[in-house]
């Protein structure tokens, strides 16, 4: 195993990790407010196609990213309308959102398939710092979205645990009626969380088509939205632990195409089962622990809140 290939693996681990982390953070915020959104895969696809199309038109990658996040948020609000406002079943609405997102993105991006990107988010130039051995190529020659993901993680963690608004948001996912009694609008908190989730999923999708791939093809998200859903559970609904999980799962994605380089004789397909199996393992562990202490999962996750039925 050469140093270069090791560096390549670690660098790709960080790239894939950030991709998964952005989407997972969004889902985490949404779930913390009590809304399970299984539409991540669809929201990512919408973000991916929006980012790519805007970049094609304007050649401005930053504008493309921002538009992808806004459109991601608006798209997520469809789920918000049905589950938060109308109180419909979250599982059904979320899955429908995935189906709608995959279909709509394929429709919108039909003529963009195979086209070269209009603009890409080029790696940040850290000057001489990028030449530091190991650290330079792994952390300091990356797309700006890596740093965005790190900041988003720290910001989310701070917001959820240190601000009163974050406390209210978590409250909406634990006991909505209590938060309501305290004078907060559960409706607004939950809608805000769903929209934030959509924006981050949109950013994750745009990261694919503006940086990582960077191209648009139907199904470019390739099931990574489901890994993001898994990551929230793997991280026990904590941004910090989810970051560790993102690096682990990102590492597995990075390793998949490099197994032969490292002379390991395992099928890459079998390797890609690991994140899902690990998540099931973690979920079982959480459930066993929940017998003795409060569960890590938000107590009101998946439950509609109807004020008048309080």
């Amino acid at each position: 195993m050469s140093e270069a290939s090791m560096i390549g693996l670690l660098s790709a681990t960080v790239s894939f990790g950030a991709l998964l982390y952005l989407a997972a953070l969004g889902e985490l915020i949404s779930e913390k407010a009590g809304i399970l959104n299984l539409g991540v895969e669809g929201m990512m696809a919408i973000g991916a196609v929006t980012g790519f199309m805007v970049a094609l038109e304007t050649e401005n990658p930053w504008l493309a990213l921002i538009v992808a996040m806004i459109v991601g948020a608006l798209f997520a609000l469809i789920h918000g309308l049905f589950t938060v406002v109308l109180g419909a079943e979250q599982v059904v609405s979320g899955l429908s959102l995935t189906i709608l997102g995959l279909g709509l993105s394929a429709f919108i991006g039909k003529n963009a398939v195979g086209r070269p990107p209009g603009a890409v988010l080029a790696p940040v130039d850290w000057g001489p710092l990028s030449d530091i051995p190991w650290v330079g190529p792994i952390l300091l020659s990356q797309s700006p979205l890596i740093y965005f993901a790190i900041l988003a993680g720290i910001g989310t963690s701070f917001f959820l645990s240190r601000t009163s608004f974050g406390l209210a948001l978590r409250g909406a996912g634990e006991s909505a009626s209590t938060v309501d009694t305290a004078g907060h609008s559960v409706l607004r908190l939950r809608l805000g969380a769903v929209a934030a989730g959509g924006a981050l999923a949109g950013a994750s999708g745009a990261y694919l088509t503006l940086s990582l791939t960077p191209q648009w093809t139907e199904g470019v998200t390739a099931g990574r939205g489901w890994i993001a859903v898994a990551l929230v559970i793997f991280g026990a609904w904590r941004p910090g632990r989810a970051a560790i999980g993102a690096l682990l799962f990102g590492g597995l994605l990075a390793l998949k195409t490099r197994l032969q380089t490292f002379g390991v004789d395992i099928s890459p397909i079998l390797l890609s089962m690991i994140p899902y199996l690990l998540t099931i393992g973690v979920l079982i562990a959480i459930s066993i622990r929940a017998r003795h202490q409060p569960s890590a999962a938000p107590a009101a996750l998946g439950q509609a809140y109807r004020r008048e039925e309080r």
Binding site: L38, L86, L102, G103, L277, I280, R306
Partner: protein, 357 residues
Amino acid sequence: MGRLILVRREKILRGGQPLAFLIGLTIAMTIGILLLVISGHDPFAVYERMVEASVGSPKAWSITLNRAVPLGLAGLAVAVAGSMGLWNIGAEGQILAGAIMAAWVARVGEGWPSPILITVMLLAAVAGGALLGLGPAVARAQIGVNEIITTLMLNEVALRLLQWLIHGPWKDPESRGFPLAPILPEEARLPGLFQRAHWGAVIALLVIALFGLVASKTAWGYELRVAGSSGATALYAGISLKKKILTVLVLSGGIAGLAGGIELSGNSDRIVEGISAGYGFAGIIVAALALLRPSGVAAVALLFGAVQVGGLSIQTMGVSSSVSTILQALILFGAIGAGVFSRYSIKRVSKEKMDVK
């Protein structure tokens, strides 16, 4: 100044669900017209083609029927779990597991007489789906692990297993490098019914009817409904929740597995990656639209089958197949919304009244 709120109706609107479906369909078709115009097609010509291809002739009906089989079984699988308030999101993976097991039997049972081979294949498919449902079932019954996530994760695991098989051990040496399993022998194929339709439709209808009968006429079915509506009542009545959860989730997996077996034996000539065209996820939609009722499942599956077949047919007109995907999602959203309004009505509440409350 007032505020709009949703108030639960004292009685669910009669015929609310079929109406909800119709409203969903109307909304979807309207937005569909918009999409088609944007992409430069004549929407009415496209819709005419969709209807023609899905229900316009006996042959069209036979294709729609074939499509409705996995949709109906997957829908039933979800509905079975749903009757106890459980979500089986894993039908997609269970369908794959069923297809894998059936294909394995077809490999082992070369030379067996056709009726025996097919029967064993379908039983193996049931076992495969049930096996994939067993893990989440035990985890849920014994330690209360959320079955939504475990079944969802196992979808991806089953898909990887299938990919691994067709890229590796089961790869057809004559496939020129393509990841394809060998073509099934003729004895392993379900016999035809009429035109393109195969016997899968009959099997599916029997299974759906059987469950409908068991659920509505037997003590077991009654216990199931009690357990589904209130865990506490069930415990009081001496119904073992653990056993019920276990049975229901395994049964649900088995039914989805059967769909995979039928799809392999009846519709596909070999195991391919896309052997389930999202039937497991569509099954959730079917079950939700049917309000988890077996009779509704059959009807909705037929309608959805028609939409899917119609959607596939318009690709020859240069319309992206994504239009049909979008239509299906829109039908669902429209129906979810209309479904909510069949149970709730909108009331305007005045500010003062709210304060009193």
